[in-house]
């Protein structure tokens, strides 16, 4: 089963972490990446640039209009996205659990182009 694990974090809170804590958390992430690469469960990992660089594109009067933001200094924003392929949902949730320090983690199943007739 393929899932994406979405990690949301608050950039302001992240910057304010005590010395060493950010490194410790990143080490946990790197160890997990090594483990999932070794097991062949990690398909892709996307680390997103700072949300301050984000642009929002929306239709206004039928025309796509670009605005800056949303800025994420004071709220949780999507920080990275991991694509995994695991035997069961339990395993995806256990992986998400390791990523929870200073973050909110969402697990979503990916749709498949295959299917069974009924």
């Amino acid at each position: 089963m393929k899932y994406v694990v979405l990690i949301y974090s608050n950039p302001a809170a992240w910057s304010a972490l005590p010395a060493g804590e950010a490194d410790r958390v990143l080490q946990v992430h790197n160890d997990l990446i090594d483990e999932l690469t070794g097991s062949g469960e990690l398909l892709n990992i996307y680390r997103l640039a700072h949300a301050g660089n984000a642009r929002t594109v929306a239709l206004r009067d039928g025309v796509p209009v670009v605005t800056d933001g949303p800025f994420g200094e004071s709220k949780e924003v999507l920080a990275s996205l991991w694509e995994i392929d695991v035997e069961r949902l339990d395993r995806a949730l256990a992986i998400a659990g390791v990523l929870t320090p200073h973050a909110t983690v969402e697990v979503r199943a990916l749709m498949d182009a295959a299917g069974m007739e009924m």
Partner: protein, 414 residues
């Protein structure tokens, strides 16, 4: 069939034989498997242009042996560097063995390889990947495409699987007789998993994945050739043939799914049905009955009905009752409920489904909702049916299933 296709078929057939020869000669399944993969890749490039060598199997054994020797030498050199002591190097002993020295066909090699690749220490995903590469002769890239993962990820899974087998102390030898039935059951599960991966694939970008059904049938056929008296092996091959026979009718050109009852049966593969029916009939007559034979028998009853309305549902119901006794599972109960509904009416089917509500294994599964929706529709309760179709559509992770279920719900809109 193009020259390249012919070469590919030949390579897939020879792959397990060449690997068996190498492992018997050198031991070290993991290194031999890499060496054979490289020899297969070299042949896939060279043979379509230069022509197939007179003795293709000996050619592959020679090239793979050379790779093996190089690897053992490189490994020896690495050790010498690391340990700065004269490494015990078996390399010289391995140089240029007579290519034909042990080329006698070993029918059991394929079987031994299947047991090894389907080792119980591995996860199902690893069993499938290793079986396709080592026994099926597929390249890592082909296996990766079939499972829609990056090639590097698939290479890692295969390498990890081989390490796991090594760590489990498995040898290139048939399992002891007392373990054999359980080990064979795992082999059959792996082949059926490969088949279903391919069968579920619909159209368009999924077509390469669909070739997994062909590969699974080829491996099941080979297994049946090696174990002609095993009823469950025959049953699995029959089940695959009888299911795959409907493939031309199960999707529309746009990839949407057609339920069994609405398929254009003139498009079913009559030859595959005849072969499957003959296989299951013969095996039921002489072997102890097992779950694959019963599932094949159910598929045969469906396939032999010229129109959906001609389906012998009482016969299918009896077979599901038997299957529930032989191999009970919530999925069997689900299908049993459909058969019961067709024979005794939708309310009887719904009653049986209710027994699954307390079974955690299917709670929240889209197929429970989908079957309930179908039976509620038959029972004349469109409102409840629509609600269950929508719940099933939300729960499935398959795009064509979602489209089908939403279509069913929309038909019932007031």
């Amino acid at each position: 069939m193009s020259g390249a296709d012919r070469v590919e078929d030949l390579l897939r057939e020879l792959a397990p034989q060449v690997l068996g020869t190498l492992v018997r000669r050198y031991g070290q399944f993991d290194l031999c498997e890499d060496a054979v993969q490289e020899a297969l890749l070299a042949a896939a490039v060279q043979w379509p242009q230069a022509g197939v060598p007179e003795q293709p199997r000996a050619w592959l054994v020679t090239v793979a042996s050379r790779r093996m020797t190089d690897q053992v030498r490189a490994e020896g050199a690495r050790r010498r560097r690391e340990e700065t002591v004269a490494a015990r190097s078996p390399a010289d002993a391995l140089v240029a063995p007579g290519a034909d020295a042990d080329l006698r066909p070993e029918a059991d090699d394929t079987l031994t390889l299947l047991f090894l690749c389907c080792h119980p220490a591995l996860t199902p995903a690893s069993q499938v990947a290793l079986t396709l590469r080592a026994v099926g002769g597929l390249t890592t890239a082909q296996v990766a495409v079939a499972f829609l993962v990056p090639e590097a990820t698939m290479a890692q899974r295969i390498s990890r699987a081989k390490q796991t087998i090594k760590a489990a102390g498995a040898r290139f030898a048939p399992p002891p007789p007392e373990e054999r039935p359980d080990r064979l059951r795992v082999v059959l599960q792996v082949l059926y998993l490969i088949f279903n991966e391919g069968y579920a694939a619909s159209s368009g970008p999924d077509l390469q994945r669909a070739e997994l059904t062909t590969e699974a049938i080829r491996l099941a056929r080979e297994l049946h050739r090696l174990l002609p008296d095993d009823g469950e092996v025959a049953g699995l091959l029959a089940l695959m043939l009888l299911t795959d026979a409907r493939r031309p009718a199960r999707t529309l050109p746009d990839g949407s799914l057609v339920p069994l009852a609405e398929q254009d049966r003139s498009r079913w593969d009559a030859a595959a049905i005849a072969e499957g029916v003959a296989l299951v009939t013969a095996s039921l007559a002489r072997a102890p009955v097992g779950p694959y034979q019963v599932q094949a028998a159910i598929a045969a009853v469906h396939d032999e009905a010229a129109r959906a309305a001609d389906t012998d549902w009482p016969q299918i119901l009896v077979l599901y009752e038997l299957l529930e006794r032989l191999a009970p599972s919530p999925v069997v109960t689900l299908n049993h409920a459909v058969a019961l509904a067709m024979v005794r009416g939708p309310l009887a089917g719904l009653d049986l489904l209710a027994t699954l509500d307390d079974d955690g294994r299917l709670a929240g599964h889209h197929r429970l909702d989908a079957v309930r929706a179908h039976l509620l529709e038959l029972a004349g309760d469109p409102t409840a049916a629509r609600e269950r179709y929508r719940a099933a559509a939300r729960r499935t992770t398959s795009l064509p299933e979602q489209r089908y279920l939403e279509g069913r719900a929309a038909r019932l809109d007031p």
